[in-house]
């Protein structure tokens, strides 16, 4: 084993070792046995039917959200507004359910999902349009829109949509049973799991097997390269924003139609932010991201379990969770840096030469030659 090959291993040792050392110290300071606590996280998340049930239920929205984020982030469209899209999706689905209380479920349930898809897409198109039209940073716009959505939802559940029999609880009345997504047996696992898996597989297929996926990556490489190949980066940005928002909306609809059966304040539980962490942990690659979904969902559920079992304040599991994830992110980063070269998902690196990319694109009907106006001065650097 050469030194070059062992450097990524050293990075993992540093990042993960640091995280584990922090975990050990922190738990020891709290006067608990770190191994029992860690065992309890695993058992709590994956070891029992109840735990596994909760973990998968948590992973469903994460799958949908991170599938959408993969597309957006691969095009370097930094959509951090999926929490808002998810909230708006939940609101839209709830609205359809609340205003048609007596309609048949076979009609309303699909309408709930469709409206969530549409509203979520529209919500994420706002930052995309502002970027395409004005060059405005999508980060700040999508971030602000998260709070706009949350305020709208919080307002609705304490006013017009409030459950009259809710004893002051900020939430709507429970939907009628016809509007619930089917569940697997007596578990919490609902049809949303299928949507999530399909979405993730579809995103993987699109990114790895289609010209459109290559375009997404090329736009992510830099607008100039894409423009040179005749790709409209505006169209790609709008598409990835719309699809990611739609999937975010669907995640929200899944929470209200599949899990809670009503709209509550704080329905997203910040999963739209957690998903950003998940795709980063998954190195922006679909399969790794799917694994990261399950792992992070497990940590969230296991952490809650531990705090109940050991009588620890919820802040403790919070500190541990985020400190560990901080360590992992750093380990991944150092492993990439010290290995040298580009991260493996970059198509230019994967496909070999730029000529291969060009010929693949030229074979597709949408490709055009270099445009005028992008002269040598653009490429001289």
């Amino acid at each position: 084993m050469t030194f070059a090959a062992s450097r990524p291993a050293f990075a993992w040792l540093l990042g993960l070792g640091g995280a584990i050392a922090f975990f050990l110290l922190f738990v020891l300071v709290l006067d608990r046995n770190p191994f029992t606590v860690f065992g309890a996280v695993l058992v709590g998340a994956f070891g029992s039917d109840v735990g596994l049930n909760r973990t998968i239920a948590r992973a469903i929205p994460l799958l949908l959200l991170s599938a959408g984020l993969l597309l957006a982030f691969r095009a370097k469209f930094w959509n951090i507004g999926l929490n808002g899209a998810m909230y708006m999706g939940a609101i839209a689905a709830s609205g359809v359910a609340l205003y048609n209380p007596t309609a048949p479920g076979w009609l309303i349930l699909p309408l709930m999902l469709l409206s969530a898809l549409a509203v979520g897409a529209a919500w994420s198109l706002i930052p995309a349009l502002l970027r395409v039209w004005f060059g405005a940073s999508e980060i700040i716009v999508s971030l602000m829109l998260n709070y706009v959505a949350a305020r709208i939802g919080d307002f609705l559940v304490i006013s017009y949509w409030k459950d009259p029999n809710g004893r002051g609880f900020p939430g709507t009345a429970t939907f009628q049973e016809g509007f619930w997504l089917p569940r697997l047996g007596s578990s919490n696992v609902h049809l949303g799991l299928l949507f999530g898996v399909v979405a993730m597989v579809a995103v993987w297929l699109v990114l790895s097997r289609t010209v459109w996926g290559l375009r997404v990556d090329l736009v992510g490489q830099g607008a100039r390269a894409a423009q040179y190949l005749g790709i409209s980066s505006a169209a790609v940005l709008l598409a990835v924003a719309g699809v990611s928002g739609a999937l975010g909306g669907l995640a929200g609809a899944g929470e209200v139609a599949g899990l809670n059966h009503r709209l509550e304040a704080g329905v997203t539980q910040d999963l739209g932010y957690t998903a950003i962490l998940v795709v980063s942990l998954g190195l922006l690659r679909p399969w790794l991201t799917a694994v990261a979904c399950l792992a992070v969902a497990g940590l969230l559920v296991g952490g809650t379990q531990v705090q109940l079992q050991f009588g620890l304040p919820s802040a403790v599991s919070g500190v541990l969770l985020w400190a560990i994830l901080y360590g992992v992110i750093n380990a991944q980063n150092l492993a990439e840096r010290w290995k040298g070269g580009a991260p493996p998902f970059r198509p230019a690196a994967r496909e070999g030469t730029a000529a291969a990319v060009v010929s693949r694109l030229a074979a597709s009907s949408g490709a055009r030659g270099p445009r005028d106006g992008l002269g040598s001065s653009e490429r001289s650097g």
């Binding site: 802040a315 992110i329 991260p343």
Partner: protein
């Protein structure tokens, strides 16, 4: 006519309401402003830090605890700044030394939000509902406080309020009137050019992130010791996110940040003065601080083409060999 004279009469009821409102606006803005300045300093160096909300929470607890132990609000805010700066070292190391990709930079900022929240809940537990902290006290500026209307509006505030607005002027001075500030802006704009001129890009970015964190921590201290005067979990209530929006709204300029802060402080102050019978209007006002940056961003980026101060290298790691 009588209404107008009544309004202009410093002693009238109407004038009293207006004076109290403006004073409340200035007070509300005091906790928002240092956080905004912190984000401006950070972003001017080309680094991002989404963790404002978490850093404010940590600052709020640290400040409250230190003021309780020491009996001095000044010790409180200084501790709050130190806590914010210290926590930001964990952000600066991967962002500057680790040269993380843009999406990891966002993720690390978000981790800081949640880590800060969890830390503040952990260490703040004994201080929930605690009232023995030495809170910020009112300070009437000599002479100025006696100016009829303006004095009551601006110069009879609590002590830390003056610090906040003073910091904005200080940050402006450093950014625009010193070599240090020129270098910092160059690093955020054209790191390769700055590097070629011998400016140590990494050092400036590291420093900007840590100083930015100190300002965010300071803002938390102002919030718990002055604006609200208590510690509860989730005390910031979204102010950290609003501060991030304010950076854009103020076009990355410390003095414009004062104007933006007063406007946003106005939204906050008005929220508590609306009749409770219209919760919708309250929520609408609560949304405005988030909508305002969205509404103005296109104007800033399109209409002011070339004059937008958004740092060109924002969020991009700097590799010397890549030259930009």
């Amino acid at each position: 006519m009588t209404a107008v004279t009544a309004l202009l009469d410093p002693g009238s009821v109407e004038m009293g309401v207006i004076i109290a409102f403006v004073a409340a606006v200035v007070r509300s803005g005091a906790a928002l402003l240092p956080a905004t300045l912190g984000a401006i300093v950070t972003e001017r160096s080309g680094a991002t830090n989404l963790g404002v909300e978490g850093l404010m929470l940590v600052g709020a607890v640290a400040g409250f605890a230190a003021a309780s132990q020491s009996g001095s609000p000044v010790v409180g805010v200084l501790t709050a700044s130190a806590a914010g700066g210290l926590l930001c070292v964990t952000h600066a190391i991967p962002v500057v030394q680790g040269r993380v990709s843009p999406e990891r930079q966002l993720v690390l900022g978000l981790i800081l939000v949640y880590l800060g929240d969890a830390l503040s809940r952990l260490f703040g537990q004994p201080y929930v509902g605690h009232s023995s902290a030495a809170l910020d006290t009112r300070f009437a500026v000599p002479l100025l406080a006696d100016v009829p209307v303006l004095g009551e509006m601006l110069f009879q505030q609590r002590g830390l309020v003056y610090w906040s607005y003073g910091l904005a002027v200080a940050v402006w001075f450093v950014l625009y009137r010193t070599r240090l500030g020129l270098h910092l802006r160059a690093v955020g704009e054209e790191p390769a050019a700055a590097d070629a001129l011998g400016v140590r890009v990494d050092l400036y970015r590291f420093g900007a992130i840590v100083v930015g964190g100190m300002l965010m921590g300071f803002a938390g201290g102002v919030l718990s010791l002055s604006t609200i005067g208590a510690w509860t979990e989730g005390l910031t209530g979204g102010r950290g996110w609003i501060a991030l929006g304010l950076v854009t709204f103020a076009n990355w300029h410390p003095l414009w940040a004062i104007a933006g802060t007063l406007l946003f402080g106005g939204f906050e102050a008005a929220q508590f003065r609306l009749p409770a019978a219209f919760p919708g209007a309250q929520y609408l006002l609560g949304i405005l601080p988030y909508l305002a940056p969205i509404a103005t961003l296109p104007l800033i980026t399109a209409r002011m083409r070339g004059r937008s101060a958004a740092p060109a290298a924002l969020g991009r790691p700097y590799f010397r060999e890549a030259r930009g």
